[in-house]
Amino acid sequence: MRILRSWWRRREDDLEAEIQSHLAMAMRDRMERGETEDQAARAVRREFGNVGLVKEVTRDMWGWVSLDRLIQDVRFSLRIMLKNPGFTVVAVVTLALGIGANTAIFGLLDKVLIRSLPVDQPQQIVSFAEDAAGTPAVVSYPVYTELRDRNEMLSGLVGFFQQPFSLSNGTQSDHVIGQIVTGNYFDVLGVRPALGRFFLPEEDRTPGTHPVVVIGHKLWRQRFGADPAVIGKSVILNEHSYIIVGVTPAEFTGTTRGTVNDVYLPMMMQAQTGPRRDRVLDNRNFGWLSLIGRLKPNISRTQAQAALASLVDNETQSPGRHEPGSIFLIDGSRGHMDRVNDLSMPLLLLMGVAGFVLLIACANIANLLLARASARRREIAVRLAVGAGRFRIIRQLLTESTILSALAAITGVLVAFWFTRLLLGFQQQTNRVPRTLDGSLDHRALLFTLGLSLLTGILFGLAPAIHAAKPDLVSALKEDTPRSGSSFRRFTLRHFLVVTQASLSLVLLIGAGLCVKSLLALQAVDPGLEPSKVLTASFDLSLNGYDEQRGRQFISELTERARSLPGVEAASFATIVAFSDSFWISGATPEGYQPEPDETLAFDFNAVSPGYFRTVGSQIFSGREFTALDTRESPRVVIVNEATARGYWPGQEAVGKRFVRGKGQSAHFFEIVGVVRDSKEKGLTKDAGPAICLPLLQQYVPELTLHLRTGADSQTLIGAIRREVQILDSGLPVYNLQTLEVQKDGSLYNQRLAATLLTLFGLLALLLAAMGIYGVLSYSVTERTREMGIRLALGAQPRDVLNLIVRQGMVLVLIGLAIGVVAALELTRFIGTLLFGVSATDPFIFASIPLLLLTVSLLACWIPARRATRVDPLVALRYE
């Protein structure tokens, strides 16, 4: 760059010297002819003309492909931009907001939904589903091995199972996520270790003999400080010691999209990962493995599907519940998508909306540039007249818009970082296997930004540039102020842009209004319990090798300790947390109930300790809560919700009625002792389904969550709970420490995302549109100063002038609004599925939002119109 610049400077100096020598020689000639130095100097200057202009047009000849031309254009553009700092700042900031929003959303969309797994030839990867919609199929290990060994279509087939682990090094323990994988997992995918190695064939041959583990890159960095000496060290996973043999590359986080795996264990260590798991590998009828395969070259998905389907039919002679009846092979290049599928609609919607906003911003800047180009008409005309090519002029103007958009891109990246934080801020972090959305901006997102900024630079720069490069030379050179009639063409383009802006921003604001109204409606829903008063803390006792007896002891001790903490009104355990997406669906038959032939009796189950309903604030309608007296030795009891009571004993008292679970010898009766109010804990948008609650004292479950009812500050309590758990068992990881309110908000992620971002985008669009209208009108007022002066001189009242200008602007706005309303009626149905308690054509929103836009645009029209009324007729007429 420096060399280039000095070369450029030399060329400039040469030109200067050449002209100076010309002037000097001309002077000498004249003085030799007897003129005085003064006379000669003046004559020479006059004869030569404008030195700057001569230089300028001479430079134009230096060729338009050379770099020096470009540098000159850039310098010229920077000069122009510095001369108009207001314009530059407005243009850069609006564009940066648009580009930043687009980059952030693209970054997330790309990482979550678009890009392939970082594996070899991802297009060959297929994922096994049980239906065409892509519900992941699960098979047992014996079925997996038969599919793997007998198919002729796949070059490799892997099985994996994702679950949480308790990771410990003796002093510190964490809740981490891992996959139990078949030994060929990394080989088939074609992933190479960042450090160490992956599994050897012998490590996946005999059960329980090779305790080795591959750790994820993130865990390696965060837990082991990226220490290369980690290979060969041992860690404790679920109470069992493993040797670390390898680290996965940073970009590979597993085969389930939206989750990050910290550890990978070989299939043969499956029995060691938890209690009661020693018979799983031999069990043909227990489906638990997800499958991903790699197609052989030149085999299509349909071919492979047909071949595998016949294989599966042969394999599954005995119908087991978890045996897939049929196999669908779906595109697996991006891995299993079931954790992120629900995001595709909101993210695509937001991507579209962000694109919209960028378009509005481009229209705005195009408009400003058009106004500016008109102001530079004379300069451009001069350059055209002395022979600068039209293309040169366009190039110069495009350079300017490209610099603008480059500046905007740089600022936009900063905006994007902020925006990404916002996008991920609403994320739900509350599952046994949490969903982790990676939105960090990488080279793909930055490339996208670069492309976007170039595109926008051309988009908003080209029209004004082409326009400016063909002015009416004669009138421009005569320094004539164009009358509104003569610039009719320019006006239509500018008008069109204003109409577009008004309609686009109306569509966005209506969408935002609908989403906000829907979110408010959702937040106003009475959930049937009091989430803001409840703090949760989750444990997975099975991961730490607790048997039932030890588990029960832990439950009663922790409950005792928690109840004695200051600020705690009640404490109890439950296995299913309200508003989380963990669930427990099981069967039960009301005593004496005859189900229809194809009716399945399924209920949402939960197991809770005494006082649970009081803790979460659920009202018991009739009967009682569980007490410490409902034990193994006492009769089996349940509490049902209203939906169950209503559904199976309509009009009767349900308390005292009984359920049957199990068949024949193992059939048991459960007596209903209480009916609890319906709650929306399975989702605020859903009506409560039939639910049955068991006493934890009678039905032990090792995955538990402590619930605390408190009026106190939850942050101090979180610390206190950690301490209490530490005292009981320092090796037991606690997770999910948060209020139920946070959990509830997390369940509204999609809706909050849409409402927040649409509002943000809508307001941005409104601001841009207002600026656009203001810009057009103030330009027009400036151009028509003389006309206004004449009108006022001839006796027009300031009010008339005000009306004239405001009407000119409002006509455009009204056209825009009309188009916008029609477009919104068409477009809002796409967000229909995101809306709750509000119709996609809600009359309140469709009336109030245009009104808002109307008010803002009226203000934007009024300010320049006021200026028009203050025109002094004398000054205006003397102008020229």
């Binding site: 010309h22 020689m25 060729g63």
Partner: protein, 119 residues
Amino acid sequence: MKRRHQNRIEVLQGTLDLLILQTLRWGAQHGYSISQAIRINSGEVLQIDTGSLYPALHRLERQRLISSEWTVSDNNQRVKLYRLTVAGKKHLAAERSNWEKLSEAVDGILNPARNGSEA
């Protein structure tokens, strides 16, 4: 842009190229002397605007029809000298014959009867 040279003829771009090349036919010259030569040799009829001359010189140089070098003049000033290249000589010859054909043709149209000039 004021009308100062009404008695002089504006020179078209192609013609200016031809005049410059022709002027350089007899040796290297700098910009000022080229403009003086054209003015004097045309009998003060053709006045070359500097705003046309220098762009033309730089364009011809880029087209490699002329080349330039820097020397120092008697009063110690850096001076840029232009000279014809081989390509420039060829171009001049071709353009000259074109010009003569054109000129004859135009002349024939303007003065169908006789050869002569009133200008």
